[in-house]
Protein backbone atom coordinates (compact mmCIF):
# COMPACT_ATOMS: atom_id res chain seq x y z
CA UNK A 1 0.00 0.00 0.00
CA UNK A 2 1.07 3.61 -0.48
CA UNK A 3 1.20 4.34 3.28
CA UNK A 4 -1.32 7.15 3.09
CA UNK A 5 -5.05 6.95 3.63
CA UNK A 6 -7.81 9.51 3.44
CA UNK A 7 -11.17 9.45 5.15
CA UNK A 8 -13.94 9.62 4.32
CA UNK A 9 -13.77 8.57 0.67
CA UNK A 10 -17.07 10.25 -0.13
CA UNK A 11 -19.12 12.82 1.72
CA UNK A 12 -22.23 14.83 1.02
CA UNK A 13 -22.84 17.77 3.29
CA UNK A 14 -25.11 20.79 3.47
CA UNK A 15 -24.10 24.36 2.85
CA UNK A 16 -22.98 26.10 6.00
CA UNK A 17 -21.92 23.01 7.93
CA UNK A 18 -18.35 22.38 9.06
CA UNK A 19 -16.57 19.40 7.50
CA UNK A 20 -13.30 17.75 8.46
CA UNK A 21 -11.28 15.51 6.19
CA UNK A 22 -8.53 13.33 7.54
CA UNK A 23 -5.22 12.28 6.04
CA UNK A 24 -3.22 9.58 7.80
CA UNK A 25 0.27 8.43 6.88
CA UNK A 26 2.45 5.59 8.09
CA UNK A 27 5.66 6.75 6.35
CA UNK A 28 6.80 9.19 9.05
CA UNK A 29 7.20 11.84 6.36
CA UNK A 30 7.73 15.42 7.41
CA UNK A 31 5.69 17.14 4.71
CA UNK A 32 1.97 16.78 4.17
CA UNK A 33 -0.25 18.62 1.71
CA UNK A 34 -3.88 19.15 0.87
CA UNK A 35 -4.88 19.76 -2.75
CA UNK A 36 -8.18 20.16 -4.45
CA UNK A 37 -8.74 18.88 -7.95
CA UNK A 38 -11.22 20.59 -10.24
CA UNK A 39 -11.77 20.29 -14.00
CA UNK A 40 -9.85 22.95 -15.86
CA UNK A 41 -7.82 23.89 -12.80
CA UNK A 42 -5.78 20.76 -12.20
CA UNK A 43 -4.50 20.45 -8.66
CA UNK A 44 -4.33 23.51 -6.45
CA UNK A 45 -2.59 23.61 -3.11
CA UNK A 46 -4.82 24.48 -0.17
CA UNK A 47 -2.50 24.16 2.82
CA UNK A 48 0.61 22.25 3.67
CA UNK A 49 2.54 21.21 6.74
CA UNK A 50 6.29 20.97 7.25
CA UNK A 51 6.12 19.47 10.71
CA UNK A 52 3.93 18.99 13.76
CA UNK A 53 2.05 22.23 14.40
CA UNK A 54 3.85 23.86 11.44
CA UNK A 55 1.51 24.73 8.62
CA UNK A 56 1.27 27.30 5.88
CA UNK A 57 -1.22 28.50 3.30
CA UNK A 58 -1.31 27.48 -0.28
CA UNK A 59 -2.85 29.06 -3.33
CA UNK A 60 -6.52 28.54 -2.42
CA UNK A 61 -6.64 28.58 1.38
CA UNK A 62 -9.68 30.82 1.93
CA UNK A 63 -12.43 28.95 3.75
CA UNK A 64 -10.13 26.16 4.86
CA UNK A 65 -8.08 25.50 7.96
CA UNK A 66 -5.71 22.69 8.87
CA UNK A 67 -4.20 21.12 11.92
CA UNK A 68 -1.36 18.73 12.51
CA UNK A 69 -1.02 17.65 16.11
CA UNK A 70 1.06 14.56 15.32
CA UNK A 71 3.28 13.48 12.47
CA UNK A 72 0.89 10.95 11.01
CA UNK A 73 -2.31 13.02 10.82
CA UNK A 74 -3.17 16.13 8.83
CA UNK A 75 -6.72 17.40 9.09
CA UNK A 76 -8.46 19.72 6.66
CA UNK A 77 -11.50 21.61 7.92
CA UNK A 78 -14.01 23.48 5.84
CA UNK A 79 -15.25 25.93 8.39
CA UNK A 80 -18.60 26.59 6.72
CA UNK A 81 -18.98 24.55 3.57
CA UNK A 82 -20.09 26.26 0.35
CA UNK A 83 -21.06 24.83 -3.02
CA UNK A 84 -17.81 26.16 -4.50
CA UNK A 85 -15.96 23.74 -2.26
CA UNK A 86 -17.51 20.76 -4.00
CA UNK A 87 -14.40 19.03 -5.28
CA UNK A 88 -12.11 16.07 -4.98
CA UNK A 89 -9.56 16.55 -2.22
CA UNK A 90 -6.20 14.85 -2.31
CA UNK A 91 -3.69 14.55 0.44
CA UNK A 92 -0.01 14.05 -0.41
CA UNK A 93 3.12 13.31 1.58
CA UNK A 94 6.79 13.90 0.97
CA UNK A 95 9.95 13.01 2.81
CA UNK A 96 11.42 16.40 2.06
CA UNK A 97 13.59 15.59 -0.88
CA UNK A 98 11.65 17.17 -3.72
CA UNK A 99 13.47 14.98 -6.18
CA UNK A 100 11.44 11.95 -5.19
CA UNK A 101 8.04 13.47 -5.74
CA UNK A 102 4.89 13.15 -3.73
CA UNK A 103 2.83 10.14 -2.75
CA UNK A 104 -0.87 10.81 -3.04
CA UNK A 105 -3.85 9.47 -1.17
CA UNK A 106 -6.89 8.07 -2.93
CA UNK A 107 -8.88 11.25 -2.59
CA UNK A 108 -12.09 12.39 -0.90
CA UNK A 109 -15.02 13.30 -3.11
CA UNK A 110 -16.92 16.06 -1.32
CA UNK A 111 -20.29 17.35 -2.46
CA UNK A 112 -21.81 20.40 -0.82
CA UNK A 113 -25.55 20.71 -1.45
Amino acid sequence: DAGITQSPRHKVTETGTPVTLRCHQTENHRYMYWYRQDPGHGLRLIHYSYGVKDTDKGEVSDGYSVSRSKTEDFLLTLESATSSQTSVYFCAISGGDGGYGYTFGSGTRLTVV
Binding site: Y31, Y33, G42, L45, Y48, Y100
Partner: protein
Amino acid sequence: AQRVTQPEKLLSVFKGAPVELKCNYSYSGSPELFWYVQYSRQRLQLLLRHISRESIKGFTADLNKGETSFHLKKPFAQEEDSAMYYCALSGSGNQFYFGTGTSLTVIP
Protein backbone atom coordinates in the same frame (compact mmCIF):
# COMPACT_ATOMS: atom_id res chain seq x y z
CA ALA B 1 7.12 32.89 -10.38
CA GLN B 2 6.80 29.16 -10.82
CA ARG B 3 4.32 28.01 -13.39
CA VAL B 4 3.58 24.84 -15.29
CA THR B 5 1.60 24.98 -18.52
CA GLN B 6 -0.03 22.08 -20.28
CA PRO B 7 -1.56 23.58 -23.40
CA GLU B 8 -3.75 20.62 -24.35
CA LYS B 9 -6.75 19.80 -22.19
CA LEU B 10 -7.73 16.87 -24.37
CA LEU B 11 -5.66 14.69 -26.67
CA SER B 12 -6.84 11.74 -28.74
CA VAL B 13 -4.61 9.37 -30.66
CA PHE B 14 -5.12 6.02 -32.31
CA LYS B 15 -3.68 2.87 -30.82
CA GLY B 16 -0.17 2.32 -32.10
CA ALA B 17 0.37 5.97 -32.99
CA PRO B 18 3.01 8.12 -31.32
CA VAL B 19 1.87 10.41 -28.56
CA GLU B 20 3.36 13.58 -27.14
CA LEU B 21 1.95 15.48 -24.18
CA LYS B 22 3.34 18.96 -23.90
CA CYS B 23 4.57 20.65 -20.76
CA ASN B 24 6.25 24.01 -20.43
CA TYR B 25 7.46 25.58 -17.25
CA SER B 26 8.80 28.80 -15.82
CA TYR B 27 11.17 28.68 -12.89
CA SER B 28 14.11 30.84 -11.95
CA GLY B 29 16.30 28.08 -10.53
CA SER B 30 17.16 24.54 -11.56
CA PRO B 31 13.85 22.75 -11.87
CA GLU B 32 12.95 19.26 -10.83
CA LEU B 33 10.17 18.05 -13.07
CA PHE B 34 7.78 15.16 -12.90
CA TRP B 35 4.93 13.52 -14.75
CA TYR B 36 2.05 12.07 -12.81
CA VAL B 37 -0.70 9.86 -14.21
CA GLN B 38 -4.22 9.43 -12.90
CA TYR B 39 -6.32 6.56 -14.19
CA SER B 40 -10.06 6.86 -13.95
CA ARG B 41 -11.06 7.80 -10.39
CA GLN B 42 -7.77 6.64 -8.91
CA ARG B 43 -5.02 8.36 -7.03
CA LEU B 44 -2.26 10.19 -8.84
CA GLN B 45 0.80 8.05 -9.40
CA LEU B 46 4.30 9.17 -10.16
CA LEU B 47 5.13 8.24 -13.73
CA LEU B 48 8.48 9.87 -14.37
CA ARG B 49 10.96 12.19 -12.77
CA HIS B 50 13.51 13.91 -14.93
CA ILE B 51 16.45 13.37 -12.60
CA SER B 52 16.24 9.61 -12.98
CA ARG B 53 16.03 9.66 -16.78
CA GLU B 54 14.06 6.43 -16.68
CA SER B 55 11.45 5.03 -19.01
CA ILE B 56 8.21 3.85 -17.42
CA LYS B 57 5.52 2.00 -19.38
CA GLY B 58 7.31 3.07 -22.55
CA PHE B 59 7.07 6.78 -21.72
CA THR B 60 10.06 9.10 -21.74
CA ALA B 61 10.49 12.78 -21.08
CA ASP B 62 13.49 14.98 -21.69
CA LEU B 63 14.11 18.23 -19.94
CA ASN B 64 14.91 20.98 -22.42
CA LYS B 65 16.13 23.96 -20.47
CA GLY B 66 16.49 26.13 -23.56
CA GLU B 67 12.82 25.69 -24.44
CA THR B 68 11.77 25.26 -20.79
CA SER B 69 9.89 22.14 -21.73
CA PHE B 70 9.43 18.65 -20.39
CA HIS B 71 7.26 16.90 -22.95
CA LEU B 72 6.10 13.34 -22.36
CA LYS B 73 6.44 10.96 -25.27
CA LYS B 74 5.61 7.41 -26.20
CA PRO B 75 6.27 5.91 -29.63
CA PHE B 76 3.27 3.55 -29.74
CA ALA B 77 0.19 4.41 -27.69
CA GLN B 78 -1.80 1.63 -26.00
CA GLU B 79 -5.42 1.67 -24.89
CA GLU B 80 -4.34 1.34 -21.26
CA ASP B 81 -2.53 4.65 -21.59
CA SER B 82 -5.86 6.48 -21.56
CA ALA B 83 -5.72 8.63 -18.44
CA MET B 84 -5.18 12.13 -17.12
CA TYR B 85 -1.57 13.27 -17.13
CA TYR B 86 -0.16 16.04 -14.98
CA CYS B 87 3.17 17.74 -15.33
CA ALA B 88 4.61 19.05 -12.05
CA LEU B 89 7.53 21.15 -10.94
CA SER B 90 9.22 20.95 -7.58
CA GLY B 91 10.04 24.43 -6.38
CA SER B 92 11.22 26.12 -3.25
CA GLY B 93 9.92 25.02 0.12
CA ASN B 94 9.34 21.49 -1.16
CA GLN B 95 6.16 22.63 -2.87
CA PHE B 96 4.96 21.20 -6.13
CA TYR B 97 3.28 23.18 -8.85
CA PHE B 98 0.98 21.27 -11.16
CA GLY B 99 -0.25 21.95 -14.64
CA THR B 100 -3.94 21.76 -15.42
CA GLY B 101 -3.61 18.30 -16.87
CA THR B 102 -4.10 16.64 -20.25
CA SER B 103 -6.71 13.96 -20.71
CA LEU B 104 -5.36 11.36 -23.12
CA THR B 105 -7.71 9.04 -24.96
CA VAL B 106 -6.28 6.22 -27.03
CA ILE B 107 -8.75 5.12 -29.68
CA PRO B 108 -8.78 1.39 -30.47
